[in-house]
Subunit: 408 residues, 2 copies
């Protein structure tokens, strides 16, 4: 395993101050699942009444904990909920033993916390295909339950990191009928990131009161506009999980509140961007806006084709305003495109229009933008009203270094 000691140059200056979400407590422990000298298990405990929504990888080879969580979503919220996550081993592609390991962790968590097994959600992240030494985790559950504390969300964010170079947290508040509702959460993920959830684990908590069906609808929509619009390397993990837990402790019903919807979206977008900013080897954060496509789905298809193109991503790494590769990526995406109505901008510089380089284009302008660590590419298809925005990072030697050596 490669030693990853350097924090991404695109990392935020500091981990944000996250508000305490009333009704949720956290604890972490160093169980030695694989790593040494760091925490690798986190427990989140949610009070009775907490509703849980989630989205998961669409991989056909989902891990045991993902299948277990999916089966449990939408269950009764009377008895609270627990979330138990380990890093170091994903318990994915571990056959019957994988199911047994998940079950052992669920049962031990239920026993330690007093929360029914049907309300214990687990996740495992790390190496695929190796047996999860679940006994190391179950041995720590009493300690985890005994050390739960409302102010340890940042510790929880750290415990679930794998190749991440920094922990990722975000929060927002919104005002509903004069009362404040809080949302705060954290995420892990840096490689194997692509739409349909990628290798990400995301846990978001709010003190809003909202029924499960409404929370699920909001969560799915926000996920489509945030986590499903980011890509690091087009690879999709077997373990991706996002859970949103609403404790209801604020007493404020957020069910149809547009402010709550926007705040939840903002927290997810912040975390999604942080995942891209920690993309393996990333040196540039890249925003790709597609407009003028025949519809929104086509715009997203074009955007992801650009974002996933190794030739586009290496050109960005090389600070080369190589719009020819953008044309190539639009052409191969499979969505409708017309070469002669395409326009392309790098930053604010119109590079190409009407099927060719813009008459006013001065390469130095686009080249100057490419020096930035926040690259903006805009493509207008000139065909309709479809729009989409996706986010990615560049493809660098760092990606090769991390992935040619690290057994993930």
């Amino acid at each position: 395993m490669a030693k990853i000691t350097k924090v991404s140059p695109l990392a935020p200056a500091a981990f944000p101050d996250l508000p305490v979400i009333d009704g949720v407590t956290f604890s972490t422990v160093a169980a030695g699942v694989k790593y040494t000298g760091r925490t690798d298990v986190m427990l989140a405990h949610c009070v009775p009444g907490t509703t849980i929504a989630g989205t998961f990888t669409r991989s056909a080879t989902r891990s045991a904990p993902v299948l277990d969580c999916q089966a449990k979503l939408g269950g009764p919220s009377d008895d609270g909920a627990a979330i138990l996550v380990n890093s170091g081993n994903s318990n994915a592609f571990t056959g019957r033993n994988g199911l047994a390991a998940t079950d052992a962790i669920v049962q031990a968590t239920a026993k330690a916390t007093g929360i029914p097994a049907a309300r214990v959600f687990t996740a495992s992240t790390g190496v695929i295909g190796e047996p999860l030494p679940f006994e190391r985790i179950t041995a720590k559950l009493s300690e985890l339950n005994d050390t739960l504390s409302a102010d340890r969300m940042a510790d929880a964010a750290r415990a679930i990191m794998t190749t991440d170079t920094y922990p990722k947290g975000a929060s927002a508040t919104c005002d509903i009928h004069g009362k404040e509702v809080k949302i705060a959460g954290f995420a892990k993920g840096s490689g194997m990131i692509a739409p349909d959830m990628a290798t990400m684990l995301v846990y978001i908590f709010t003190d809003a009161r909202i029924n499960q069906a409404a929370l699920q609808a909001l969560t799915s929509q926000a996920c489509d506009e945030t986590f499903n619009c980011i890509t690091v390397d087009s690879d999709t993990s077997t373990s991706d999980s996002l859970l949103v837990a609403a404790t209801g402790t604020s007493g404020v019903d957020a069910t149809s509140d547009p402010g709550f919807q926007a705040a939840l979206h903002d927290v997810m977008l912040d975390l999604a961007h942080q995942v891209v900013r920690d993309g393996e080897g990333a040196t540039k954060f890249v925003e790709i806006v597609v407009t003028g496509a025949v519809d929104n789905a086509s715009a997203k298809t074009h955007g992801l084709s650009i974002a996933n193109s190794p030739l586009v991503k290496t050109a960005i790494a090389g600070e080369d305003p190589n719009w020819g590769r953008v044309v190539m990526a639009v052409g191969k995406s499979g969505a409708p495109a017309d070469r002669d109505t395409l326009s392309i901008w790098f930053g604010d510089t119109l590079v190409a229009e009407n099927g060719w380089v813009s008459p006013d284009y001065v390469e130095a302008d686009a080249a100057a933008h490419m020096k930035s660590d926040h690259i903006r590419i805009r493509v207008d298809c000139g065909m309709g009203d479809g729009t989409a925005t996706v986010w990615t990072c560049d493809l660098t030697h760092g990606y090769i270094e991390i992935n040619a050596d690290y057994r993930s």
Copy 2:
């Protein structure tokens, strides 16, 4: 532009001796389209009666010469044919000027060779989106026509190279009713390679007699099994063209001959493998065999998902038998898969079966295979009879070096 001086470690020992194909002559010239100190234009001249079949990129942003060639396929063969190819500039995404440049080259070729413009096929490969200085090419057409020679196919292969580190040629013969028929051809391509033709130019010549419709059917089928089964970086070019020219000069009708079909397939497969072996930065040739899928199309989908996965490709670069990433790639492909019926081999070593690591698996065995420069990965889906084989290369620092600096 990066200086690419090192020949791929996977290159064949030498360019093969290609037989003369009666009825075809070649010439090359250094026109200075972009490169200096090397040839960059080739002309192939085919005798009257030559039928031409072809396959082309499916990109929605095809280059002007591709559109021109596609319109001409299937035309009458009475007046022979000419093929004119330049490297250094792809004349792709060059708007109306691109069409005008193609037209100027076609007309000049027709004038110099006496072959009607409707039978002049052109291609351009190199940088996208910059105006093609076609006058440099048209100025050389008399010289090209005056120096045509039957034994210059190897020179032609060299003239069309871009980031290729070696020229690519292949040949085969077959016996039809006691008479020998020859096939020989050449290709260029090293990056932006993916199914649906990729950044490749391929020209194959035979002295067989075969009508255009039959030749087209054979060509399309062989292309599906060869060039459309290779991938370097999942990127698809705007310029990919493959032409097969049958001069008929042997007098032997190959229309329904299975030996001819097999020989044409062999030449294409040889050239396709050489393209992969010249994959940008490649250090390992990778063969991926998928069996037991629900159908052949699903097998190919799984195979290409594995072959295009940056995480699989970097693991191979790192000589890591990381079968977890293979599972991941099968899971994300979109084709049907069942985690618990998957089996995976690296070389001859059964690594995983029944949804988990094989009980007899010894990592040292798979690790030893990964040291080879010819990696074989086999995946059995355990679901049906669908099979496919695809070929790719690893993803290395060399790919980043070439593509972060080279304006292709």
